[in-house]
Amino acid sequence: MTLFLQYLAAGIASGSTFALVATGFVVIYRVTGVINFAQGVFAVLGGFLAYSLLQAGVAHGLAESLAVLITAAIGLVVGLVALGRRGTPPLASLIVTLGLAIFSYAVVITTWGDHPISYEGLSGLLAIGGVSMQRQYVLIVGAAVVTFLALALLFGRTYLGMALTACSSDQRAARLMGIDVWRMGLLAFAVGGGLGGLAGVLLTPLQPVQFDSDVGIAVNGFAAAIFGGLVRPVTAFAGGLVLGVAEAMVAGYYRSSYETAIALAVMLALMLWQASRRAPSEE
């Protein structure tokens, strides 16, 4: 039983990072209609930036926060390139984000080399109800939940957030109100960058990252995001947790080489089940 709880804790922790990446996908997709395949890159860059800052002697906490801020700025730049000229179709933007992801490989290899890096997170164990878990897990889950609540406040309660929601709900109407949809898109990319960066900063102490770790991170995040139809942040967040827990269980009780495949198969099965419940004529 305690073994089960330990797998559960590990799954919830890694699932929380998927959830953060997934939320980034959702925020960007909702506002701009673009699936940002550079979403995993933010996590990788977040990890590397925090690593360098820590090496340079910046204190824990500050280093990670700075890394997240920088990835948010990088998100802005990615948005600037990906959105291109007004009227660039989303499929073109999607491929541009793939291009940017590949470009990041060149940047990471030139700056940091092609070896994986990692750094110390919160060390030590925390015992809760007989289950001891790494304190880094608790930090990850806490940070993810706080971030998610902050986003909910931003989108649900602030005027700016309402404008962002308006862009995702009806671009034409938003433009009629005088809302600059393009700028809101950039803002969404910055938020997405920060979310990805946060995931990377939290994840790197648990599993080392290298220049092309973004594929795995993006696939998991995308799987969680698509679970909520790419537009529902709460479902995407839940999807991330489901995925994380499923992977931890498969790795714990069966074989770790199957973890991603089985988790994806579960997601796929759920999706097919959802699709078969919808009336076939319904669009």
Partner: protein
């Protein structure tokens, strides 16, 4: 109806075909295998372009069918089956698996389908890596015999170039006929509006599965040739990045444009190759080839997509069409982009 333009186009196609076949022996040796790869990628991309441009379905896992074709050809061949059958096996098995998984999978739409195909590839790769007895596992399959029929064997890159480009021609011919057929025209309706197509009595679900299977058959054929050509395959030969590369080739060339798949495959393959060569010039630090190829590949991709978001071939043909229009001030002015693109793409 064969107008003067159609006739001149036929001449161009004939000249191109002759040049294609005359070229391999004339190429420097290191370009010969590149030539094979361009052909293989063009085959896969043609299927993907058909799937996306005509049936409006996105696949992020096309390399899965490339892998299936490769393994379906290689597994019997290393056990002594005649290699030529492998081409058939690769094509048929890929198509059959696509048809089988297509029935549930194609209920998913748009981005869901993109995810479904991506997930399928990852699951498949795990399966291949774990089914060691059959597939050689992570280490892969070695010693795949060369392609041959009777006493004739394809060994050199030039010989594989012929095999490949004959396959390209066959695939383009099939595609042209599919696009021009009645189902093909119905499919075009599918890409624009699924519900409208369904309302018009098009068996939407069946057609989608058929195109999916056809695109998988192309990928399977290319994968089979690939397996014989390299004589070694492993799960690592078919990463997600390869699927993405196919998507990029299709988009760069232009979706739904048959010639676009050739242009896209050639442009992307050549760019990557050129970069690797520049990067591995003597005196370069070891990381340079990788860095350079990632960076320039990415930049080419970004610039092409931002400047020509509909792809190279549609952009060129649109320009040609508008020039013609200016000359003749004909009624083409009222045709939308859709009509123009599909009309052009029906001419392989």
């Amino acid at each position: 109806m064969i107008g003067p333009r159609a006739r001149s186009r036929r001449v161009v196609v004939a000249v191109l075909a002759a040049a294609t076949l005359a070229l391999p022996p004339l190429l420097p040796p290191e370009w010969q295998s590149l030539y094979v790869f361009i052909g293989l990628y063009a085959i896969v991309t043609c299927g993907l372009s058909l799937l996306m441009g005509f049936a409006g379905q996105v696949s992020l896992g096309q390399a899965a069918f490339y892998a299936i074709g490769a393994y379906a050809a290689a597994i019997p061949a290393v056990r002594g089956a005649p290699p030529a059958l492998g081409l058939l096996a690769g094509t048929v098995v890929a198509a059959a698996i696509a048809a089988a998984i297509g029935v549930p999978l194609l209920r998913l739409r748009g981005h869901y389908l993109a995810f479904g195909t991506l997930a399928f590839q990852l699951i498949l790769l795990t399966f291949i890596a774990e089914a060691g007895d059959l597939t050689g596992g992570d280490i892969g399959l070695r010693g795949i015999p060369p392609l041959g029929l009777g006493g004739v064997q394809a060994v050199t890159p030039v010989e594989y170039a012929y095999v490949t480009w004959v396959a390209v021609a066959a695939v383009f011919l099939v595609t042209r006929n599919v696009v021009r057929s009645r189902p093909g025209r119905a499919l075009r309706a599918l890409a624009t509006s699924e519900s409208a197509a369904a309302a018009a009595g098009v068996p939407v679900a069946a057609y989608k599965v058929m195109v999916f299977a056809l695109s998988a058959a192309y990928a399977g054929l290319a994968g089979a040739i690939y397996a014989f050509f390299l004589s070694y395959i492993a799960p690592g030969s078919f990463p997600i990045l390869l699927s993405i590369q196919f998507l990029v080739m299709a988009a760069v060339g232009g979706l739904g444009a048959v010639w676009g798949s050739l242009v896209g495959a050639a442009v992307v393959t050549l760019v990557v190759q050129l970069l690797q060569e520049v990067g591995s010039l003597p005196g370069m630090p070891t990381q340079v080839p990788a860095v350079l190829s990632y960076a320039v590949y990415a930049l080419v991709l970004i610039v092409v997509m931002l400047l020509l978001p509909s792809g190279i071939v549609p952009a060129l043909t649109a320009r040609a069409a508008s020039r013609r229009r200016d000359d003749a001030a004909s009624t083409e002015a009222t045709l939308g982009d859709d009509a123009r693109a599909s009309r052009l793409s029906s001419v392989p």
